[in-house]
């Protein structure tokens, strides 16, 4: 597979390490009320759809960027990739 790195262009998937569902970005607040239930969801319940999925890939043999890659898990078509940092900042309402 080839992954379109937003900074480096098309890179071979062999340069990357796979993590999984990009929802891992949305870590609950450990000090909040009901944190245990939130963490049980966060740690154990992941989406694994047959179809379009947002996934975390780490460019370990490259520039060390974590990417959010949107991929169709059936056809392996890659619909987009962006820096996970930008996604995370957007989620926190910060500047992306």
């Amino acid at each position: 597979m080839l992954i379109p790195h937003p900074l480096l262009g098309l890179r071979d998937a062999q340069e990357f390490t796979y993590l999984g569902d990009a929802r891992l970005i949305e870590r609950p607040d450990g000090m909040a009320e009901g944190a245990e239930a939130a963490f049980a969801d966060y740690v154990y319940l992941r989406d694994n759809p047959a179809g379009v999925h947002r996934e975390l890939w780490f460019h370990e043999q490259g520039d060390r960027s974590w990417l959010v890659v949107t991929r169709d898990t059936v056809t392996h078509e890659i619909l987009g990739a962006e820096l996970a940092r930008d996604v995370a900042l957007r989620g926190k309402g910060g500047a992306a």
Partner: protein
């Protein structure tokens, strides 16, 4: 049989080879198959199940029967298709799957027992009694039903792998492929042309018709010359594109040296990973046969293969041959062979309106219904107009139509589409993106259509890449389209083979139908149809048609199997691409590796690293002797050990403290500048993951260490936390594991030794530089260094870090300078013994199953802050866990302590339910004078002094152990602070 005239063999040279010990001769340009035929050898193998005598079916890589063991000794390769084994001088081959000789195979009795060996016989027959399976059935079946044997020796050859990129990959070098390559290359595109054969031309090499006004081989030679002159085109002969993977990546194996007696310094094969923007699949077509009773007699082959042997290799399987066909193409074989002086006994054409296209007897509306000649065909039974007669012939060519070779087009699950006109499946349009089928692979099998569609496919590919294509002038060529009559097998008594390699007959398919194994996938698994090395290339479509006949459904309704990579077998060696043994992965050497080697160190692999395990001295006869000495010398004087392999991560930024606070379960933000703190990292599920130290060099600068094994994963995790979880923090990370050499100096004389190398102006006295202090300083007259007063051994100890290139020199300096202090290098064994003696957790304790509570660090998990894993570490299941890390010592000091043994209350029954824990680490402690261990024991912290039982059922051992403190050495930590 002597050679026919013509052919693409070099008659000026002869090559000697052996088959089953007999010596024969052939010519350059021959394959093993053609050379055997030229020497009148028609019997080449025994079938898989019934051990029926078998000869060639095909002339290419689809061959199901003629599998041989090629070469000998360590280079022996089983299941090699004789049809693609290029002849070289000295080649040796043996037939396989026989007991006795090829012509008298003792296991041929299986053939007489065939009623018991019908489809599904494994599933039905060998079920009971169960105990018989392993001891009786399986060995007997394995012996009888099998392919070739392995050499059982290591592969002596080298393999390589490489990467290629192109605009257009052309798969197949026949008419369509050459036209595609020519079109694209003339247009300036970067082109790779790959063909599995050793000679370009594909089917053109096997035919006699003209291209324009010249023989096809001349046209091929002209194209080849032009292609060779173009720098933007790479021709790869002997290269099989075996798979279409994601995003235009194709796998190919180039047989670099398989046509040579020995590779002679070259890699034997190379694995290519080709990234192509577009690809043209021009893999041709594979002819199908028509099953009838005893259609597996040696000498019965595909008509197109027979024509290829005659035209390309100047051999015929017999002096007198017959043809059985349902289309015009079969007649071509008769015409070509007749032109070479072969007697044509007749063309049996199933079409009632068939006419002879040359001077030979025609049996219009005829069928071949049986054959005789166990070791070689002698006569065939022909049925025509309700009468049958036996006709003498030594070989029979069968043409049942052609199946487009669409293998790669279905590698992304694209389902082939039935074409009623062609009576065959053609590639689906939903194949791998960017792959365009052309020529016979796309059902455009006439030479003219192949040339045209090849050029058009290339033009289409280039247009999609915004490259302008220049269409080449293509020669005039035959454009005959012959629709085959639907004839899938000849009904009648006797076994009619559909899949030769797996001995699947029409009857077996009927049985599968009867047993309701009707979906294609069930048919395949029940009968083993289409399995093994040929993957049913000559069988699948025919089997499907037979099944459709039985179910009364159409062929497309019956379905079709799709293909997966690889197209033909790929050896594991070439997939490894040379990354075997010590080259399996990169090997990392520590900065003191060469020094340690010069000291006679014994090394051990620790993750990717080679670390000094121990340093034997002359006269020491056992590793334990060495390790005991190293431990005692360290505890008495001073020991020196390279600990560079521990992961180091430099953490900087205004938020560095807060960042580490969230990564480690214990607090790091409050750490004072110039101090070090032990840190425990949890996984988000609350399980202990990794530990190390955090040293604060400045307000906004920390250096943290990880375990050797987890250096990579921890760094990845830290980047995940930085980029994905807390992207708004001001913090930067970099791994400095390789940048700094780090050396542990441990023992009562450690400070005295270090004082000798630390530069003036730096005070490392106990008061100025206490336990857990750290500093940047200079040593040895100006060398920048970092000093950490930390201890893994339990002794007064330091770790000193210098830029990696000075590691070797520092090690030499320490050993030399500390000679009078008893400076002794020690390796990982002594390191391990000392940390067990001190009760420090390491990889064995942080094994992914232990919680901070179990490690006795439950209270370290701060409740005042959020950190990774903190919440989940407090959940009910983990909080209720009672097993705790304890020390274990045998009641009888002569008894061993074995890691992995399970712990039980003394005298209790031993079962899963009564299991009290396990021993995680063990070793001989020279300090205690006995074996000791660390383990996790239920309520262990409350059971100090109790005697328990360690059970090691693997060795039948039961050892009484006393539960003690995990700190065997200096339990109050006085030595650390001295």
């Amino acid at each position: 049989m002597t050679r026919l005239s013509g052919g693409l063999i070099d008659r000026s040279r002869s090559l000697s080879f052996t088959f089953d010990g007999r010596t024969f001769s052939g010519h350059p340009g021959d394959t093993l198959a053609s050379a055997l035929l030229a020497n009148n050898v028609r019997l080449m193998g025994r079938s898989f199940k019934y051990h029926r005598p078998r000869g060639l079916i095909a002339a290419g890589s689809e061959e199901p029967n003629a599998l041989v063991e090629l070469r000998s000794g360590a280079r022996l390769e089983p299941n090699t298709r004789a049809t693609v084994a290029e002849l070289y001088d000295g080649l040796s081959a043996r037939s396989q799957n026989r007991i006795g000789s090829l012509s008298f195979d003792l296991l041929a009795m299986n053939d007489l027992l065939s009623p018991f060996f019908a489809a599904g016989f494994y599933y039905k027959t060998f079920m009971w009694p169960r105990a018989f399976w392993e001891k009786l059935y399986e060995p007997a079946i394995r012996r009888a039903a099998g392919l070739g044997s392995l050499s059982m020796q290591a592969d002596p050859d080298a393999y390589d792998k490489g990467f290629l990129h192109c605009d257009l990959l052309v798969i197949g070098g026949g008419a369509a492929g050459l036209a595609a390559a020519l079109t694209a290359a003339r247009s300036g595109a970067q082109v790779i042309l790959a063909d599995e054969d050793f000679r370009l031309g594909g089917r053109l090499l096997a035919e006699t018709h003209l291209l324009g006004d010249e023989p096809a081989t001349e046209w091929v030679a002209g194209v080849e010359e032009e292609l060779a002159s173009l720098p933007n085109l790479r021709i790869m002969r002997r290269t099989t594109v075996f798979g279409a993977f994601d995003h235009g990546i194709y796998g190919a194996v180039e047989r670099v040296a398989d046509h040579l007696p020995e590779p002679g310094g070259k890699p034997r094969q190379t694995l290519w990973r080709i990234t192509a923007k577009r690809a043209v699949l021009a893999a041709g077509a594979i002819e199908r046969h028509i099953p009838f009773a005893n259609n597996d007699r040696p000498g019965i082959m595909l008509a197109g293969a027979m024509r290829a042997f005659a035209n390309r290799w100047a051999v015929s399987p017999a002096e007198r041959v017959a043809i059985f066909t349902n289309n015009d193409d079969g007649h071509r074989t008769a015409i070509d062979l007749a032109a070479k002086g072969i007697e044509i006994a007749g063309v049996i054409d199933s079409r009632t309106d068939a006419k002879a296209l040359g001077d030979y007897p025609i049996f219009a509306g005829g069928l071949v219904s049986n054959a005789k000649g166990r070791l070689g065909l002698t006569k065939i039974e022909v049925r025509q107009n309700g009468r049958s007669q036996w006709i003498d012939c030594g070989a029979l060519g069968i043409s049942g139509g052609w199946n487009p070779n669409l293998h790669l087009a279905s590698h992304h699950r694209g389902r082939p589409v039935w074409d009623e006109t062609l009576q065959s499946f053609v590639p689906a349009k939903d194949g791998p993106p960017g792959l365009i089928a052309a020529g016979a692979a796309n059902g455009q099998g006439s030479t003219a259509a192949a040339l045209r569609s090849g050029a058009e496919a290339a033009a289409q590919a280039l247009a999609e890449l915004d490259l302008k294509a220049m269409m080449p002038e293509l020669p005039q060529a035959e454009d005959a389209v012959s629709k085959p009559q639907a004839l899938w097998h000849v009904p009648g008594k006797g076994r009619a083979w559909v899949d030769f390699q797996n001995d699947v007959t029409v009857k077996d398919i009927k049985l599968a139908h009867q047993e309701n194994m009707r979906p294609v996938e069930h048919l395949k698994r029940w009968t083993t149809l289409g399995m093994a090395t040929d993957q049913g290339k000559t069988a699948n479509v025919t089997a499907l048609a037979v099944m459709s006949e039985l179910t009364g459904k159409s062929i497309p309704e019956t379905g079709t199997t799709i293909f997966r990579p690889p197209y033909t077998g790929v050896s594991l060696s070439v997939l490894g691409g040379g990354n075997t043994a010590e080259h399996f992965r990169p090997r990392r050497l520590t900065p003191t590796h060469h020094w340690a080697k010069s000291q006679g160190a014994v090394f051990v692999e620790v993750g990717p690293w080679m670390r000094a395990q121990y340093f034997p001295r002359p006269g020491e006869t056992h590793w334990r002797e060495t390790v005991d000495r190293e431990v005692l010398a360290t505890r008495k004087g001073v020991g020196i050990c390279d600990v560079t392999t521990l992961g180091k991560v430099d953490v900087q930024g205004a938020d560095a403290g807060e960042f580490l606070n969230r990564l480690y379960c214990n607090g790091m933000k409050t750490l004072k500048v110039g101090m070090v703190r032990y840190g425990l990292m949890l996984r988000e599920d609350g399980i202990a993951w990794d530990d190390g130290t955090c040293a604060r060099l400045a307000e906004d600068h920390y250096v943290v260490t990880t375990t050797t094994a987890q250096a990579g994963p921890v760094y990845r995790h830290m980047e995940f936390a930085r980029q994905c979880l807390w992207p708004d923090m001001d913090v930067q990370l970099i791994s400095t594991t390789d940048a700094w050499a780090q050396i542990a100096v441990a023992g009562p004389n450690a400070r005295r030794l270090l004082e000798r190398i630390v530069d003036e102006g730096f005070n490392i006295s106990n008061e100025a530089f206490p336990f857990m202090a750290c500093a940047s300083l200079t040593i040895c007259g100006g060398l920048r260094a970092r000093l950490f007063r930390i201890s893994f051994s339990g002794e007064l100890a330091y770790e000193v870090a210098v830029p990696a290139r000075f590691g070797h020199a520092l090690m030499q300096r320490l050993v030399k300078t500390g000679k009078d202090l008893g400076a002794t290098p020690y390796g990982t064994e002594a390191l391990g013994v000392m940390r067990i003696e001190k009760g420090h957790a390491a990889g064995n304790e942080l094994n992914g199953q232990t919680s901070p509570q179990m490690l006795g660090m439950g209270r370290m998990v701060s409740t005042k802050k959020d950190s990774i894993g903190a919440v989940m570490s407090r959940r009910e299941g983990l909080a209720a866990e009672t097993r705790r890390l304890v020390g274990l010592q045998p009641v009888d000091p002569a008894q061993p302590v074995v890691a992995g043994a399970h712990l039980f209350t003394e005298g209790a029954a031993q079962s899963m339910a009564t299991d009290q824990g396990w021993i995680s680490s063990a070793g001989y402690s020279p300090h205690i004078g006995a074996h000791i261990g660390l383990g996790f024991l239920a309520h262990g912290d409350e059971r100090i002094g109790e005697v328990i039982t360690a059970a090691n059922p693997l060795d039948g051992q039961q050892v009484a152990l006393r539960v003690v403190s995990a700190h065997f050495v200096d339990p109050d930590g006085g030595r650390l602070r001295d």
